[in-house]
Structures are given as structure tokens and as C-alpha cells.
């Protein structure tokens, strides 16, 4: 299962809601304002390190660049739109 999260982790509970239902090993895809969850050194970075141990966490390169985020946390995989398409091909998706 692929869970799409597009909200800022600082303002919305969307990611935490999704994690209540997603089973370990499922994929979480961060895009739009959701990409801020992958930025190192933030107030949610510790939480995201833990999340990245239990889930496969991806983040959309194009949305990172648009926002000037040039580094992502260890354990989170950068993926472009082509990779996003592959993930959707391989999984059912839920949009949070």
C-alpha cells in the first residue's frame, strides 16, 4: 500500500493519521507541503527517523527543489515524478 501525504507536518495531522492505519513496511510518499517532513534538523526530525525505520518513506524531488530543500534525512528516499508513477503502478494508493 502507498500512502500519499501532501500536508505540512507542522500544521496538519495528515501524516500522523495515516500512520495510525498504515502497517509496518508500507510505503509513505511525501509530496507538495508534505516534503517538509523529510527536511533534516526540524522539530519533527526525531519522529521521522523513527517512522523511516518502520516504513518505506519516499519524498518527491521536484517538490523538494521547488521549496529550496536541498537535503533529506537519512532513511528517506528521494524520488522524481517518474519514480512516483512506478510506485503508483506497483501499489494501491490512499490520499490523505
Amino acid at each position: 500500500m502507498l500512502h500519499l501525504v501532501n500536508k505540512s507536518p507542522f500544521e496538519s495531522m495528515a501524516l500522523e493519521d495515516c500512520l495510525k492505519y498504515a502497517s509496518k513496511g508500507s510505503s509513505i510518499f511525501l509530496y507538495e507541503d508534505g516534503v517538509y517532513a523529510a527536511m533534516p534538523g526540524t522539530g519533527v526530525a526525531d519522529r521521522m527517523s523513527a517512522v523511516a525505520k518502520d516504513y518505506k518513506v519516499y519524498v518527491l524531488t521536484e517538490d523538494l527543489k521547488m521549496r529550496g530543500v536541498d537535503k533529506v534525512m537519512d532513511g528517506i528516499t528521494e524520488t522524481d515524478y517518474a519514480g512516483f508513477v512506478d510506485l503508483v503502478e506497483a501499489n494501491k494508493t490512499a490520499s490523505w
Binding site: F10, E11, D33, M39, P40, T42, E62, M66, R67, G68
Partner: protein, 122 residues
């Protein structure tokens, strides 16, 4: 400043691009600048992300409006503030920003709002 100018403020509190608020907030600041009022600009919460350096829209095609923030001085808008805790919890320092706002603490925010004739939040 003459007695006829009004104190006006625009508060940026949402992240850029996911929603258009911060872009329309910037349009608003620029218009205020043209009216020769006593304009302040304040970045709090996710609004601090709107002035992050290094934005590159080549993969999204969305208009990158961050360079326009650098033009605020040209419009004589010099009262620009940022909330320290909002900046720090997003892992940012002044070096990461396209402009250099004055850092304030959270308890100064409400007071700053009270001092305005009117203000807008975006």
C-alpha cells in the same frame, strides 16, 4: 512619517506553493508599499518557509516568487520580522533565508498585531 499614515501589517503563516496564500500575501505587501503607509511584514509558523533560499521551479512549473521578497526594500518596506521558534523548529537560520528579517520572540507577536490599524494573515 506623517500622522496620516496607517500602521498596516501582513503576517505570513502558511507554507508556499502547497497553497497560494503566501503568494497572494506578497502581492498584498507590494500594493501596500505603493500606498506609502507604515507597513510591517511578519513571518511565523510555516510562513518562514516562504523565504527559504534555493528554490528551483524547473520540475514543477509553478512560479517561484521568492526573489520578489528581495524587492521589498525597494518599496521602502523595512520592518520585517521573523519568529525565532518558528524558524528554529523548521531547522532554519537567518543564513537559509533570501532576506534578513529581525528576529523576535513569540510573546512580541500579539503586541505587534495590536499596534496596527489593521493587519492580514496569509
Amino acid at each position: 512619517m506623517s500622522e496620516e499614515t496607517a500602521k498596516l501589517m501582513v503576517v505570513f503563516r502558511t507554507a508556499p506553493y502547497g497553497a497560494i496564500y503566501s503568494f497572494e500575501g506578497l502581492e498584498n505587501v507590494l500594493i501596500m508599499g505603493a500606498y506609502d503607509q507604515d507597513v510591517s511584514v511578519l513571518f511565523i509558523d510555516d510562513g518562514v518557509l516562504a523565504i527559504k533560499k534555493g528554490m528551483d521551479n524547473s520540475g514543477t512549473g509553478i512560479k517561484d516568487f521568492s526573489p520578489t521578497f528581495r524587492a521589498l526594500e525597494a518599496y521602502d518596506i523595512e520592518k520585517i520580522y521573523i519568529d525565532r521558534a518558528s524558524m528554529e523548529s523548521r531547522g532554519l537560520t537567518l543564513e537559509d533565508l533570501v532576506i534578513e528579517p529581525e528576529i523576535i520572540e513569540a510573546d512580541a507577536v500579539e503586541k505587534m498585531m495590536e499596534e496596527q490599524k489593521n493587519f492580514f494573515m496569509f
